[in-house]
């Protein structure tokens, strides 16, 4: 048995990459400032010394070239990890991801097993270009996989699984959790969390809350309050993977509770909650006792000032209010 070590969400990401790079010489990382500087958030600190410049590659500020090179290397059997310094900067690589990586297997039969990862999310007072959640930009693209870990264990296990996956995986790590979230993990021990499987964070019978990423903690807080104050129990699902989506787990829960609240940090219009609601409509309409509700960010860019950003982001009280409304319906 390995010894347990207190590990942060950020360290879990670092450990997953380092362990896979030790285990498999085909794994390498490329991105802006990942080598000499050690990554903008110091995730790859020490990597250059351990793995050398052929496997820890500093690139120009060229996200399309970063992802493009990762695709080509994947075609040659390597296992690239392309880092976006902030997930907001994935925009210049959109063409490469959507038109090249995602469609490669379908068009040519040759897949592109690569990971594109980067810090997403708000709450860090970073303004419109360092705070976004981009999952819905990519949700409509067949051929991609997408994960958004909410726990330290999942941060490690999903990244390990993503690196080993034969298809392109977008890995959204929430920067608000980087150093705030800690968990005891077995040191140096392999953790693999399969893609496409949701996790039940809290068990209950009266309402289903489906969420992912950092919103898990506000949803948990709301659920705990309601359980203590009102006595209703809440089934809280952490999706972990958005593509493939664990529709089965969502449907199983909704058929039991008859009520569904979807919570995510990205804006609502065209957001991922819409897809979940459509799936539930198709698969569990007759079990619903109330309309499906969602709590999301407001339909604007992410604002900078704390007062504005707090207003923009979904808060625990918003979730609790929507949950109570559903329970009373």
């Amino acid at each position: 048995m390995s010894e347990l070590r207190e590990t942060s969400y950020l360290e879990a990401i670092r450990d997953a990459m380092a362990e896979e790079m030790r285990r498999d010489e085909r794994v390498f990382i490329l991105g802006e400032d990942v080598g000499v500087y050690g990554g903008a958030f110091k995730i790859t600190e020490g990597f250059l010394d351990e793995f050398g410049p052929d496997r820890v590659i500093d690139t120009p500020i060229s996200e399309a070239a970063i992802v493009g090179a990762a695709i080509g290397a994947a075609h040659m059997g390597l296992r690239p990890i392309a880092e976006m310094q902030f997930i907001d900067f994935i925009a210049p690589a959109f063409d490469m991801i959507v038109n090249f990586a995602a469609k490669s297997r379908y068009r040519t039969g040759i897949g592109a097993g690569l990971v594109i990862r980067g810090p997403c999310g708000g709450g860090a007072r970073s303004g419109p270009f360092h705070s976004q959640n981009v999952e819905s930009y990519f949700a409509n693209v067949a051929g991609l996989k997408m994960v958004a870990p909410a726990t330290v264990r999942d941060a490690k296990g999903l990244l390990t699984a993503a690196i080993r996956d034969p298809d392109p995986v977008l890995y959204f790590e929430h920067k608000f959790l980087y150093r705030r979230l800690k968990e005891m993990l077995p040191e140096g021990e392999e953790v693999v969390v399969p893609l496409g499987k949701a996790r039940r964070h809290r068990e209950g019978d009266d309402l289903t809350i489906v969420t992912y990423g950092a919103m898990l903690y506000k949803a948990e807080e709301a659920a705990a309050t309601i359980e203590a104050d009102d006595g209703a129990t809440i089934d809280l699902l952490d999706l972990r993977s958005l593509r493939p989506l664990d529709t089965e787990a969502i449907v199983e829960s909704v058929r039991r509770t008859g009520r569904l609240l979807i919570v995510h940090e990205a804006a609502g219009f065209g957001g991922f909650a819409g897809e979940i609601a459509a799936q539930v409509n198709e698969h569990a309409f007759e079990w619903l006792d109330a309309p499906i509700r969602r709590v999301t960010a407001i339909d604007t860019p992410v604002p900078y000032a704390p007062a504005l950003e707090d207003y923009y982001l979904p808060q625990t009280d918003d979730i609790a209010a929507a949950a109570r409304w559903l329970l009373a319906y």
């Binding site: 120009p60 290397a73 490469m96 469609k103 996956d165």
Partner: protein
């Protein structure tokens, strides 16, 4: 520090490497390219081609002679007008016909058209329609060669139009920064769809547009196969020996419109007449005859053989089946259970039967 502008002088030893049999082979590949495209044009008019048809008339010399400089194990990513390079790499002409006629037997299984296939065994990486992107992806192939210490080289192509994309610029930046073994042809064919290249970039000489990345760059007459081969050979050898990327500007001309639907009304007739005189196939024909690399009879036999080969290929391919409709759902992911799942419903729901039966 490498010179940003190499010159093509002193290449006589390389030039002399193209003997009679090489020149005849290049001639044959050019005939094959033009012949396939002429047959595709007929098939297009007959309604056998469901999508666009993009010809490389006038540009066959650049594609064929450049690819001839590669070795087994090297990789090549064509642009849409580089079909000739694919045949040099060993592609069966039937595969090109299958692509355009959307056969189920095509390399893309009917899911994509034109030169958009990837064939690792032949070292071919397919481009996609958003231009400039294949340079970025081929960089990754070159990166893999470099990481593994393999003496292998990549070659790719982009038109003057594609070279204006951000992807092209980023691709050149990364190739230069990482010193990758990759040779890029910038095919200055004077037209990006319906826009003249002089309106895309404010340069008189497109070498100026290529010389900004700090890697060797040079211009060649793209319709002179010996010049194209010599420049390619120098660049490929340099890349193989660890000398990094090269950009070669090939001066050529797109003799037809962007695609079949484009009647090219925006092009001056005199300009076309001028470039018709520089046709790469006619030019090589004169070299072959004048320098006695081949006789009239030999060339006539070659043309007849190519024509017979293409006739047979066309009739073979037209007899091949279209893809089964259900195939539209397959091969999205490595794990087939994830391919386009059918929605779950309680009993039949109108609109879902087609998905469930897959017909």
């Amino acid at each position: 520090m490498r010179s940003a502008r190499a010159t093509n002088s002193g290449q006589d030893t390389t030039l002399s490497e193209l003997g009679s049999s090489d020149l005849q082979a290049i001639y044959r590949f050019m005939l094959l390219t033009r012949g396939v495209e002429e047959r595709l044009e007929v098939l297009f008019k007959q309604g056998h081609i469901v999508g666009g048809l993009y010809r490389s008339l006038g540009q066959e010399g650049t594609a064929v002679a450049s690819a001839r400089a590669l070795a087994d194990g090297d990789w090549l990513a064509p642009s849409i007008r580089d079909m000739g390079a694919l045949f040099v790499r060993g592609l069966d002409v039937r595969d090109m016909l299958r692509q355009y006629t959307a056969r189920g037997t095509s390399l893309c299984a009917g899911k994509d058209n034109t030169t958009h296939f990837t064939v690792p065994a032949l070292g071919l990486l397919g481009p996609v329609s958003p231009l400039g992107t294949q340079l970025c992806v081929l960089n990754g192939v070159a990166l893999a060669f470099k990481q593994r210490g393999e003496p292998r080289v990549c070659m790719t192509y982009q038109g003057d139009g594609a070279s204006r994309t951000g992807s092209s610029h980023e691709g050149f930046c990364l190739a230069a920064a990482l010193d990758l073994p990759i040779v890029t042809f910038l095919e200055h064919n004077h037209w990006a769809f319906g826009t003249a290249s002089r309106r895309e970039a404010v340069v008189d000489d497109w070498l100026d547009a290529a010389a900004m990345y700090g890697v060797p760059a040079e211009s060649v007459d793209g319709n002179d196969v010996r010049a194209v081969y010599a420049a390619s050979r120098t660049a490929v050898d340099r890349a193989r020996e660890g000398g990094g990327p090269t950009i070669i500007v090939a001066e050529t001309y797109r003799m037809l419109g962007h695609a079949q639907h484009d009647a090219q009304k925006y092009v001056a007739r005199e300009e076309l007449d001028e470039w018709r005189r520089r046709d790469p196939i006619l030019r090589l024909e004169r070299v072959l005859l004048d320098e006695e690399h081949a006789t009239h009879v030999q060339l006539e036999e070659l043309r007849a053989a190519v024509s017979d080969e293409l006739d047979a290929a066309v009739s073979d391919v037209l007899a091949e089946p279209e893809p089964e409709p259900i195939e539209a759902r397959t091969r999205v992911y490595a794990d087939a259970t994830l391919d386009a799942p059918v929605p779950w419903t309680r009993g039949p729901v109108p609109g879902y039967e087609r998905l469930e039966s897959g017909t």
